[in-house]
Symmetry: C2
Subunit: 128 residues, 2 copies
DNA sequence: GGAGAAGTTTACGTTAACGTAAAGCTGGTT
DNA sequence: AACCAGCTTTACGTTAACGTAAACTTCTCC
């Protein structure tokens, strides 16, 4: 029994809070390639996952090209040794970037903590 | 004894690996406002920190406008109660976003782990 | 004193990631 | 039959964040 659930472009747009224009644009850029029933686009669960990955990438400041590359990495057709080594190198670089982002986030969180504390202190002073 | 160290635009550009055009653009956008000796811009340590914050924001996908707001939050002139409450709300929202980004990073790291493991397995298979 | 390096202003060009509008097809409903 | 919601294509418009080029000053060094 296939789960053969499918989605219309409008459904996905609503779910992910983007416009249909956006989803079609991603298709232009080769990020998704839904099948068709006549003219109408039919999206598979895999397409839906791809959209999720794109939007996650966006939240981390990735360009569509970068997200596309990442998604390509997740479906590897590692045939020869050279390609596998290249893939490992890309993985290594992405990981380094994510680590950098982690540090950046932690630094920001710390600063937000400080600001909020000063904020709280200032409000307490107002009540005195 | 003031630390009164200053920087030229070229120095900062080299240190942060951006062009002078970029730094002048940030000035146009009101993110930094160096003093002048004649025509020439003189940057203070505070300006340098601001640049650092901007670039950190960029690494996390923040727009310049967002970074500007964040930097504004770090130098609060919390005079009245209403402003302090508004500031706290902004802090709260930023924090939520950072948490989201943390989750996104962790998910990506997990996926990179998986891909790399499959990559390693594939290379081992090639050697058999 | 001429050349070069580093600074300046002004201004037009570029790329990514869509927005927005126009014009048209299509399947169900009143 | 008419209408509407939702889909389609085509195409020009827009914003952010700079790039790039031209033309000019100012300082230093040989």
């Amino acid at each position: 029994m296939d789960k053969k659930k499918t989605y219309s472009i409008g459904e996905l747009a609503r779910e992910f809070d983007v416009t249909t224009r956006t989803i079609r644009f991603y298709e232009d850029q080769g990020l998704v390639s839904p099948s068709r029933r006549g003219q109408t686009r039919i999206y598979s669960p895999a397409d839906r996952v791809t959209l999720k990955l794109i939007l996650r990438g966006k939240r981390l400041g990735f360009s569509l090209a970068e997200s596309k590359e990442l998604i390509g990495m997740y479906q590897p057709q590692g045939d020869n040794r050279h390609q596998l080594l290249a893939l490992q190198e890309k993985i290594h670089q992405r990981r380094a970037q994510l680590e950098q982002q982690l540090h950046d986030i932690q630094a920001m969180q710390q600063e937000l903590d400080d600001v909020e504390q000063r904020c709280i202190d200032a409000m307490n002073d107002l009540e005195s």
